[in-house]
Symmetry: C2
Subunit: 342 residues, 2 copies
């Protein structure tokens, strides 16, 4: 009475290379070569095998393949949020960059939480990705160490105001803040208000804020009123906070927003309240979203190219499997968009 060990395979009933090989009367190796698109296989054989593949509905198992070849072809992507449109835009850039390579992105979201980031990075690394693209430069010590020791290519994107683990792609948010303030000062504005969100959580918004504040300080000025809310950025919040700040500080002549979403909300408030923009109050955003340009008055803002950030980040990791001696920094820049609101 033979003891019949319950083989795992009995549960799932998958078609394997061996099944295909047996049926097509070739070896496993040949099937494997064909599935990987290698040449060195006779055309007749290839056709016969492919016919069998179709007949059996064989789908190669990339998990087994990855284990055997020690190459997962996965690119881990870590972003803080999906609700802020800038991140899906970056993902589009990443997908565009990955198109045609045999690599797959695996996306994880941290909700701007560094501890959660640590968890998702650990989970991502468990998949042995060929590279990790991660938003921001601020990580827990453990995250930092894991990324460093993983040996894989790591691109920190969005900001470049730091020494990267391996590479950084983005622009300087501090400089962007300075540029915004300088621009507005040049245009003659003196009484500044700030409408933002996220507080400490969105470090990049904070950097822009700091850049503006520093530039104002140099001119002997400061924000005369500020309104900062928690949680995610929305047009509705921008509108509500603008209403609030206008009530509290009616004599401001310009409002800077942490981003375009909020600024659009601000403009909506002004429209409703009969505040003439930019005469009574000027508005200045950040990001250069499409919607800003379609407004009745195009929103004055700073444009940054998110799509390109994603694309360039991928290019960096595709450039080589090993980290270069010198860490790579790609500055995708930003530009002032004059618009009609400031």
């Amino acid at each position: 009475m033979a003891k019949q060990r319950q083989r795992l395979t009995d549960r799932k009933s998958k078609v394997t290379v061996s099944d295909v090989a047996r049926m097509a009367e070739v070896s496993d190796s040949t099937v494997s070569r064909i599935m990987r698109g290698q040449d060195l296989v006779a055309e007749a054989t290839r056709e016969r095998v492919m016919a069998t593949v179709r007949a059996l509905g064989y789908v190669p198992n990339r998990i087994a393949g990855s284990l055997a070849s020690l190459d997962s072809r996965l690119v881990g992507v870590v972003i803080p949020s999906l609700s802020n449109i800038v991140f899906p835009e970056i993902l589009q850039g990443i997908n565009a960059g990955l198109e045609g390579t045999h690599r797959q992105s695996v996306i994880s979201v941290t909700d701007y939480d560094l501890d959660k980031e640590e968890v998702v990075v650990r989970n991502l690394l468990a998949w042995q990705p060929a590279a990790v693209l991660i938003a921001g430069s601020m990580h827990t010590e453990a995250t930092q160490r894991m990324l460093e020791n993983s040996g894989v290519r790591v691109v920190e994107f969005m900001e470049i105001d730091h020494k990267p683990i391996d590479a950084a792609v983005g622009f300087s948010h501090l400089s962007a803040g300075v540029a915004a303030a300088r621009h507005l000062l040049q245009r003659g504005y003196r009484r500044f208000g700030y409408v933002g969100y996220g507080g400490e959580k969105d470090r990049r918004a904070l950097m822009r804020y700091k850049g503006m504040r520093a530039c104002l300080a140099e001119a002997g000025l400061a924000f005369e009123a500020e309104s900062v809310s928690d949680g995610q950025t929305t047009v509705a919040k921008g509108r509500a906070q603008t209403a609030d700040i206008c009530a509290r500080a009616p004599d401001l002549d310009v409002l800077t927003f942490s981003n375009d979403d909020m600024a659009v909300g601000g403009l909506f408030h002004c429209m409703s309240a009969g505040i003439s923009v930019p005469n009574d109050l000027a508005l200045f955003g950040f990001n250069g979203l499409d919607i800003g340009r379609a407004l009745p008055q195009p929103l004055s803002t700073i444009r940054a190219n998110r799509f390109e950030i994603g694309k360039r980040a991928v290019e960096v990791v595709l450039a080589g499997e090993t980290r270069p001696e010198q860490s790579v920094i790609v500055d995708t820049g930003f530009e002032i968009f004059e618009g009609a609101t400031a």
Copy 2:
């Protein structure tokens, strides 16, 4: 002279279970149990092993784990686009549903291209996912067959106007179109115009359009003017197309848009052109985006809950590993939001 076969492992220098086991003086099994959070391990042993894990910086290899256990813990997600905000919103729902389970989503984008969808689905299935969540019900024959034969749970989300492969979560876009038209007829509008995008590509927008048209036809009416553009939906296009249709058909009394993005653009045009909304011209969108509610005049539209679609889709697949006898259909519904523009 021993022939030294070049072991693959020599290239990458990873820490494995065996390394940890050897150093902690236990067996591989014990390390494996601990890493998988099983109990049945003495507390002292667990601590000793975990100390070694930290010391060596061991990161379990989920590829090997998945192969051994025949369970990848992956959930494949297929969406047509990232630039249409509704899909990131669904992804948020999916992530929320996955939170706390040990499952990881893997996202692929098809650009509304069914052939690309086929490729993407094939690549996804190669990762042996535990489930596939796919937007829409329209697939190539090959895609359909692959999904059916894969044996994994498949949820088609967004629409429920079809017989699903396994399960469907969403709402009826046809009914939504009918509801929109009926609502507008009740409010006394008679001369309809349509502003849309994507043509055949966005089948769901098309279904809503058809629903409206059918309802109008019942009332002996039809769209008197239409403007449909290619490519993706943007506020700017909505604005431009509204300008266009207003020029061509100045006597319309209501404009229905394929979605809120376009409708917001339409409102912007009206603001700029001095068209009084809804007196001169009423506007009606679709989706119920946040921005619509923050406008100076809240946009009249139909609200659908994308986040919930994602979340419920996950719940369906978590409910069981095998497909139920009877296919599951979850109607997440929609509701008219009266707003102030129609």
